[in-house]
Amino acid sequence: MRRRSFIDVFFGGSLLATAAAFLYPVLRYILPTKALASSQKSVTAAKVGELPPNAAKIFKFGAKPAVLVNTAEGRLIALAATCTHLTCTVRYEADSGTLFCPCHNGRFDLSGAVLSGPPPAPLETYGVLVAGEEIVVARKS
């Protein structure tokens, strides 16, 4: 191969390789498929009609669990699902209509207030919005 051809091939190859090597990671970073946990302000928690009355669903809000409750009266309520005592995940108890922490039997009402047990603070509450067929939960502040 002549020197000039070699340089042209070398140049063209390097250009292509550089473009590919740059574009791939750039695209991977520029087009993230998931929002960063800490910056997530709202999330689609469920579809309308997905939850029967007096039932609840744990969903991922950022990196943490949250709970969406459809009360017996059909009111939608969303709260953080991490207990304020030792950050275990709480669950909805349909018979009492309260949120219960299985780790140390902490109990909260649906406004997030502590009813019993060791939790020192109420659960954070979120706003709930029905947008078309989706139930969207958003942080209040």
Partner: protein
Amino acid sequence: MKRPTFASLFVIGFLGLPAAGLAQGNSCLDCHKELDGALQAAAVAFAQDVHGQFGLSCRDCHGGNPATDDVDKAKDKSFKGAPKRERIPEFCGGCHADAAKMRGFNPSLRVDQLDQYWTSRHGQRLKAGDAKVAVCTDCHGAHGVQTARFPKSMTFPWNIPQTCGRCHADKALMASYLLPAGQLEDYRASVHARALFDKKDLSAPACNDCHGNHGAYPPEVGSVSGVCRQCHPSAGELFAKSPHKKAFVEIEAGECGACHGNHKIEAPTNALIGSTAGSACIQCHEAGSKAWTTAAELRSLLEEFESGTASAEVALDAADRKGVEVSEARFKLQDVHTILVSAKNLTHGLDLAEIRKAIVDGENALAEVEAAGQKALAEARFRRRGLVVATICLALLAAALALKIRRLKEKRMAS
């Protein structure tokens, strides 16, 4: 801070007594402010007193006539002066044990404080003639009394340990009762104190939450668990079903206190379980016994699971710092954390099969998180390698450009 309601002012006005004092000035305060020492301090402190804020004046407790500047006339037949120390509970109880009187100021305020006080160790000793014990004013103050909801009040939660400690940390005073005086120091080193003082968690227990306030009394061995269960019901329920329950009754050990202590209750760690120094188990179980071996196994199970959880979290943190999205894995890790905390609590019940099952469930969930963490770290490594490759390619491009430019120059020179 509580303000007088319209209803309370109406009642005060109807009764006439405090209103008269307010309307006609208060010669008690006028004179006492000119005096020295304690006589002056009482008048100054009363400006911040909750009773004054509700329209009450000196005469409502001490009698007399504050409408006149003549000292002799002010100290008329109704004048009671300062009560003797041993009379203070009845003195305060004159209103605070009277539901009809209290209703006009604060209908929700309890009126059984005096009855409770007589059941307290303080009250019992006072009745027996010991005037050194705490009376109302020792905990609430005399003329600067504040509601327990006011942060500067002596009875506000984070002031209570110091209020009780004024006597109970006094070594000389406590020695006269053959009582220890280290409770305040011990409490300050406890997990409860850290929650109350450092985290400002007003639900954390202070002295009165375990001993009572007006009816303060040292809990008997048998009632300690009942006290702790007010906030820790699940530990109590599990313990009641455990083989320890019967054994502790037999040896008259205070259930919770035997392992966790009383005033100096530290945050429980795995070190509290097991067969090594610092474990509560070896207080009773001999080395080599079945229970001793079980304790060691339990410690090992918990430590291994906890260590795996911590490692997974470290991996996720590392991946997070390198810019890899790991919220899904963190969401799963939350389940693992819940199982870990539950498993630790299950140790109160000593049902080994149940604890093992919880840990196996937790380890299965943990395996998923660990895999996600390793995948995220692999992704971060891949990106780093990509950066190295891109840099090499860039260097090659620069070299090729240099060669191309050199060749173009040579070509121009040749032509």
